[in-house]
């Protein structure tokens, strides 16, 4: 097709945004990470910005609070992602099996939490975790079980639960859509070959929706590494969540509480590199398994 001008006009607004809110900021983050504000002499006179090379990176990577945050997020991913992918897939397979009752009604209900904004999902669950407000804690108390959802060992699973609740239905719908696209002849053939419903789900259907599983897995991963909203909200109510609980919280704390832009930028670049490396690694790994 000809019409270079038309093509440029159609793309211009998007690429203007791409440059201003994506490329320049990413470049700025990398640039900032090599500089620091230096007080000259005895702290008198104007602040100067000086090149410090990798000093900020060394500072971030040798900061135990950053490494703890990174560890927390990795642990969070290890619990959350398998639960999410497996849970959504099993639900989609069950709904696709044809024996579930009230299928579209069930789908709507499972999808509902996705229409609840993240901060409000966190608010609802925070209240369900708060003694005195929570009917769940009362219920446990009636059975003589003391439970603290915001304790040192329970706070991470409590965050996983919020994320799971928010996104399970959304990912289930994606899997369900992929399952609907599986050719019916393939399924009929497997029935003729004597595959029962469980075997059919595990051996035939699941491999055929691999693409959707990988996509959901990678998006869940990228999103999970940014962990911020839920812990920030819960931190208003529990001392178990520090201001540097996750890398994103660390960046916010460095930039806007400590006003150390170099440190925040270095932590941002490390988080970015970590995200890219993990997504790339997962893609490569799944591609090799497919080959």
């Amino acid at each position: 097709m000809k019409g270079k001008l038309a093509c440029a006009i159609l793309m211009a607004p998007f690429f203007l945004l791409l440059v201003t809110v994506f490329l320049i900021p990413t470049g700025t983050a990398i640039w900032l990470s090599f500089f620091a504000a230096d007080q000259p002499g005895l702290g008198f006179g104007p602040e100067r910005t000086v090149f410090v090379g990798l000093r900020s990176y060394v500072a971030v990577l040798s900061d135990p609070t950053f490494l703890n945050g990174l560890g927390t997020v990795v642990l969070y991913c290890l619990i959350y992602i398998p639960l999410m992918v497996l849970g959504a897939l099993v639900l989609a397979l069950l709904l696709d099996s044809g024996v579930a009752k009230l299928r579209s009604w069930a789908q709507m209900s499972l999808y509902l939490p996705h229409a609840v904004p993240g901060i409000i999902a966190a608010l609802i669950w925070l209240y369900l975790y708060t003694p005195g407000l929570s009917p769940i804690i009362d219920l446990f108390a009636k059975a003589d079980i003391q439970i603290n959802f915001l304790g040192i060992h329970t706070v991470l699973p409590s965050i996983v639960n919020i994320a799971l609740w928010s996104n399970l239905g959304y990912n289930m719908v994606i899997f369900y859509a992929a399952l609907q696209a599986v050719p019916r002849e393939v399924l009929e053939a497997s029935v003729v070959d004597g595959a029962g419903p469980v075997k059919q789900a595990v051996r035939i259907k699941t491999p055929l929706v691999r693409g959707a599983i990988v996509t959901v897995g990678i998006f869940t991963l990228i999103w999970a590494l940014q962990l911020f909203t839920e812990p920030v909200l819960l931190s208003q109510s529990t001392p178990m969540i520090s201001a540097r609980f996750s890398p994103s919280m660390y960046i916010y704390d460095a930039a806007f509480t400590r006003n150390n832009y170099g440190l925040a930028a270095a932590a941002s670049v490390i988080l970015l590199a970590f995200t890219i490396a993990l997504s790339y690694g997962v893609t490569r790994w799944t591609n090799r398994k497919a080959a």
């Binding site: 097709m1 000809k2 019409g3 001008l5 038309a6 093509c7 159609l10 793309m11 607004p13 998007f14 945004l17 791409l18 809110v21 994506f22 320049i24 900021p25 990413t26 700025t28 900032l32 849970g87 099993v90 639900l91 099996s97 024996v99 209900s109 499972l110 999808y111 509902l112 939490p113 229409a115 609840v116 904004p117 901060i119 608010l123 609802i124 669950w125 369900l128 005195g132 407000l133 929570s134 009917p135 609740w165 994606i174 899997f175 859509a177 992929a178 696209a181 959707a212 996509t215 990228i222 940014q226 911020f228 909200l233 208003q236 109510s237 960046i251 916010y252 988080l271 970015l272 995200t275």
Partner: protein
């Protein structure tokens, strides 16, 4: 399938449905109670729904109303503009060919991977350079960027706009842009709705960027406002019923939008997932 199998399937689905529904139902129920009833955890307290609504609207001189209007402006206008921009780019990626096209498309996809938290500090510094910190635009402009929308737009353009139609329009003497706005855009209607809903959810959810950019409470979206009120609630419990009622109202527009536009987004999500 055996009776046992059928029962198991329905029990598992049933429990999952309860898991997703009960917290929302708790929110609805909690919105009808006053502070005392909330902390007594009675299933049904005195019915103070109307009073809670009044308190919500009166709290801090009617701040909630402002937040709500702000959120609607950020989300509705932002999502519409974003959908329009993304679809145009996606369409151009599908229908035109030029050098390094796929490399450029790769750059667009890379945009999906970069965390918001990484961009926040540079965006803040740029906005303060431009004098936009603590203004409507500081939150509005970055939210227009939706690289995933361009990806979906390309897939939709491939599926919904046949090249023959464009060829026919050209033979009739229509220019490229006229063809896009008069012919193609109409065929991309369902795609537009999908992207609109997608970005509506994202912007309505937006929390990190407003938190970084805004210090004036009057510019807050609902999400940030409720966050702040919740921190007040830990000190003065009379904020609890207000936050709960505020949350309930904040959930309604998205549920409404999804129910009204259900037909479109289902088709849209399918297209995105299968490819």
């Amino acid at each position: 399938m055996t009776l046992l199998g059928r029962t198991t399937v329905n029990v598992v689905v049933g429990i999952s449905v309860l898991y997703t529904l009960l917290p929302v139902m708790w929110l609805v129920l909690a919105a009808t109670k006053d502070v005392d009833a909330l902390f007594r955890s009675d299933l049904f307290g005195d019915f103070s729904f109307v009073e809670n609504v009044k308190n919500l609207l009166a709290m801090d001189k009617g701040l909630y109303g402002r937040w709500y209007v702000n959120s609607l402006l950020y989300a509705v206008i932002g999502a519409a503009a974003s959908a329009f921009i993304s679809i145009a780019a996606g369409y151009a990626f599908d229908k035109y060919s030029f050098r390094h096209k796929e490399k450029l498309f790769g750059l667009v996809l890379a945009g999906v991977m970069v965390p918001q938290t990484v961009l926040a500090l540079p965006l803040y510094l740029m906005a303060s350079e431009a004098g936009l910190v603590n203004t409507f635009w500081a939150v509005f402009i970055p939210a227009l960027f939706n690289p995933f929308g361009v990806y979906l737009g390309r897939i939709f353009a491939q599926g919904y706009v046949p090249d023959e139609v464009l060829e026919a329009a050209r033979i009739d003497g229509a220019g490229d842009l006229a063809t896009y706005f008069k012919v193609a855009l109409r065929m991309l209607g369902p795609a537009m709705v999908t992207l609109f809903l997608f970005q509506l959810t994202t912007i309505w959810n937006n929390f990190f960027l407003p938190m970084v950019m805004l210090s004036d409470q009057k510019l807050y979206p609902v999400s940030l406002g409720l966050y702040q009120w919740n921190s007040s609630a830990t000190v003065s419990p009379e904020y609890y019923p207000v936050v709960i009622m505020g949350s309930l109202f904040a959930v309604l527009p998205l549920i409404l939008a999804f129910m009204l536009l259900q037909r479109f987004w289902k088709a849209g999500m399918t297209a995105g997932a299968v490819k």
